[in-house]
Symmetry: C2
Subunit: 279 residues, 2 copies
């Protein structure tokens, strides 16, 4: 049977939906993954969709950024979130309607790890200040007493899932002393001491850097205002680096998401349980 994949128009907030369409139409050899996936030969039907329940009902899966009530109005069997975070989906309603929900967890560790190390290096080596000075054509003379290294410094990584581990591996490779926080305090490669959230204060003591790699849940809510309001004083603080929600932004993003969905299409046809299933 031909697979029918819908790309919800909300993904356009990230980049053109056509890029997702192309990723699903390819045979998966462009994912950059080490293992090539088995493909069944037949090209899937891929289309960008809105909130029409009739269109949705004909799909095998709707790949989306946003939650839309129409997902639960018809016979759509399965929704895939293009983000790792799924806080915007009403789990109970999905459960009640028998609609499966899967996430894009597990694919952003290297990209986010690189972004975070880029920020840590900017702070340690003062790189953001040189960029500011460049705007003034100013060959500045930095205060050397303010410039350090990552090597030898302690970083506390809060949350040791895919993203946290992507940060840990790179911080460890730079000779940092890595401590971490996770709910189940089992050992993690590259992390010297793993604490539970109850010991947060002990965990961050003596750390030069604290990296938050936690999902948005009721326990972690607090800093999530996006975009940062124009009147925020953070914009103008020279020692604060503000960026949009882009740590995972990457030209290969759609290909990686497509790899998860393609794997799950196969599992579904073989009546196996879905990878990254949330509901």
């Amino acid at each position: 049977m031909t697979r029918r994949i819908g790309i919800h128009e909300s993904v356009g907030e990230l980049f053109p939906p056509e890029r997702f369409e192309r990723a699903f139409e390819s045979d998966g050899t462009a994912t950059g993954a080490d293992e090539r996936e088995r493909t069944d030969g037949e090209k899937p039907i891929v289309e960008t969709v809105g909130g029409d329940p009739e269109v949705l009902s004909a799909l095998d899966v709707c790949v989306t950024l946003a939650y839309d009530e129409s997902f639960l109005d018809g016979d759509l069997p399965w929704v895939h979130s293009v983000q790792a975070g799924v806080d915007r989906f009403p789990f109970a309603a999905f459960r009640e309607r028998g609609v499966a929900l899967t996430s894009s967890e597990g694919i952003h560790g290297d990209v986010v790890g690189e972004t975070v190390l880029g920020y840590l290096l900017a702070f340690a080596r003062g790189l953001h200040r040189y960029r500011d000075a460049q705007g003034e054509s100013d060959w500045i003379d930095p205060d050397w007493s303010e410039l350090g290294t990552l090597r030898g410094e302690r970083v506390c990584v809060i949350g040791l899932g895919t993203l946290g581990q992507g940060v840990v591996r790179r911080a460890d490779a730079f000779g940092m002393e890595v401590v971490g926080v996770k709910r189940t305090p089992t050992p993690v490669d590259g992390v010297k001491r793993v604490h539970t959230p109850a010991n947060l204060e002990v965990a961050i003591e003596g750390s030069k850097f604290v990296v938050l790699c936690v999902p948005l849940t009721d326990e972690t809510r607090g800093f999530e205002t996006e975009p940062l309001p124009e009147e925020s004083p953070l914009w103008e603080r020279e020692e604060v680096i503000v960026t949009p929600h882009v740590a995972a932004a990457y030209r290969g993003y759609a290909d990686r998401v497509a790899a998860i969905v393609r794997e799950n299409l196969g599992r579904r046809e073989r009546d196996e349980s879905l990878a990254n299933r949330v509901v």
Copy 2:
């Protein structure tokens, strides 16, 4: 005999000479090195000096940034450069006058390696653009097709001395494909292929990044204008990151330089050959 160490006033171009004085007055346990040095107990006499040949003649060593003709006018036995580069010293004149010259080669690999990876990550992840946008309080929406990773990309490191190896180790840890260029093409850990300068074009073929880690000599001269002239078009090119000559700038710099000089003071007293000797 009490050691007499002169700190030439030219080091003030980097940071206050007093910081060098303090580094030499300490017992060396603040260098951050793994091995602690043996100290002989007696405090050295450390003073900031100018071009007075009589003052210079009384010293065991003059620690300097710049070359000053007065170094060769009296009985100063030894000059130590606080930089790894020694291109500004007239080797033949030193040889003729029997004055030893040593460099600060070998101590900047981690600091420069971190700085360079910071730049590579800025380019790969577009971090400099977020800093530009921050100045406009602008929560920008990047073009994801322009954002990559270091992982999987090829970097060519030209020059595989201390600095080049500092870059190589970190690039390798990020999963980059590292190729390199050095005059003697012997294997280097973390470098997949080592080419000679004669094969420069082959070496850089297919590289996303090229990192120059070569000393300034007659063969490498060409880009050394400092500071970058105000009228240079490079300042305004958004895709170019301009920084002053600060890849090695670091709060522990003086301590590391002091460690080399302290080691060499001991060698000199024991009539051993000096480490990092250039002339």
